[in-house]
């Protein structure tokens, strides 16, 4: 009977790795300015899926050590599970689209969903490396095993967190306050035409008195490609509306000559610094990003 019970060594590996892996997921649940996910159910869902991911990573080494090679195929199951996490996140955010002040847009939703999937891989990789370290150290002192596994796990977490960290709009562009001007029923920001939807006097007065605008100016010519992307602008507009609220109207417009992007709205909280900060911290979407230096090289391409 006792032969069928898991050994203490393996139990230590599994428990330590699962705890460190779950901790990795907990540390990557951000409560940042984007306020997502701050609701308790969101936390719970992601912690539990993180725990499952960590458990899968933790049992891989003991499975290998007991020559249970087939059992390692459950890592494929893990990947399927993470894909489901991405899918669920995507569906959930898409369902919310009609209830938000501005659309997140498909590109932004895709980016968020991918991030959630990737963070489950964090838990899996961290727990796997923790378990591997404990197995390799294999000291007779349990505390040394646990400590070395935990430290390695945290180092790995730091490295992959840095690796997966994306850029924000503030890294590629300057964001400054724009001057709102309403000429008859047309709205201009810093002389750039934005909209002619201010057909009534009420609308024109409201925008003139209460409107806020920011102008995003690309720092380099090639950054225009990212900024011109509709999904990227939609993401910035979404973050802007999330930060200061929307009383009425929100627009984005691109200017073709210098590639400036205008974001303007009538906010609930009239705080231009908050608006600028929100736009600056909007992530540069993965689907939009491209490496400029790679585009310049001719290593593998034709002359």
């Amino acid at each position: 009977m006792k032969e069928n019970i898991i050994s203490t060594d393996h139990l230590i590996i599994i428990v330590t790795a699962t705890i460190v892996g779950t901790m990795a997921r907990a540390l990557t649940i951000k409560e940042d300015f984007r306020q997502y996910p701050t609701y308790p159910n969101g936390y719970l869902i992601h912690l539990v899926t993180g725990f499952v991911a960590a458990s899968l990573g933790a049992v891989a080494i003991p499975a290998l050590m007991t020559k249970n090679f087939v059992a390692v195929t459950f890592l494929a199951l893990a990947i399927q599970q993470f894909r489901d996490v991405r899918k669920a996140e995507k569906e959930s955010l898409k369902d919310l689209e009609n209830t938000e002040s501005a659309y997140r847009g498909d590109a932004y939703i895709d980016g968020i969903a991918k991030t959630f999937e990737a963070r489950n891989y964090f838990a899996l990789i961290v727990s796997f490396t923790t378990a591997l370290t404990i197995q390799l150290v294999d000291s007779k002192f349990i505390s040394i095993n646990v400590m070395s596994g935990t430290i390695t796990g945290l180092i790995v977490l730091y490295v992959i967190k840095r690796f997966s960290k994306g850029k924000v709009l503030g890294d590629i562009a300057d964001v400054k306050e724009g001057k709102i001007e309403v000429r008859e029923s047309e709205l201009f920001v810093d002389g750039i035409f934005v909209s002619n939807l201010l057909g009534t006097e009420n609308a024109a007065n409201m925008f003139q008195k209460e409107g806020l605008a920011v102008v995003i100016i690309p720092r380099e010519e090639h950054f225009r490609i990212a900024l011109d992307h509709y999904g990227q602008r939609q993401a910035a507009l979404f973050e802007a509306t999330r930060a200061v609220g929307v009383k009425r109207y929100h627009f984005t417009r691109k200017e073709y000559e210098k590639g400036k992007i205008v974001i303007t709205l009538v906010p609930i909280i009239k705080d231009v610094n908050k608006l600028i900060e929100a736009v600056k911290k909007t992530p540069v979407l993965e689907s939009v990003k491209k490496s400029h230096s790679v585009m310049d090289t001719n290593l593998f391409g034709r002359e």
Binding site: Y103, S185, L197, G199
Partner: protein, 68 residues
Amino acid sequence: MGRESSERPTYTILAIITLKKERILGGSQLALWAENEEQQKAMTQDIAKAMKADVVKMKNGDYLIIRV
């Protein structure tokens, strides 16, 4: 711009309020004729408020009521 126009939001023209009868040529939207500018503004505002829609004042003086 071509791609952008195919993205959401989609716009629907709900009504056109004009001062010239001959500009009412048909279409799916509501087309109304106002006798003077005062009446035109009032009609536009009433419909826009009721439909929670936006208003465009065209250069020819007509008003379009648009829902985003």
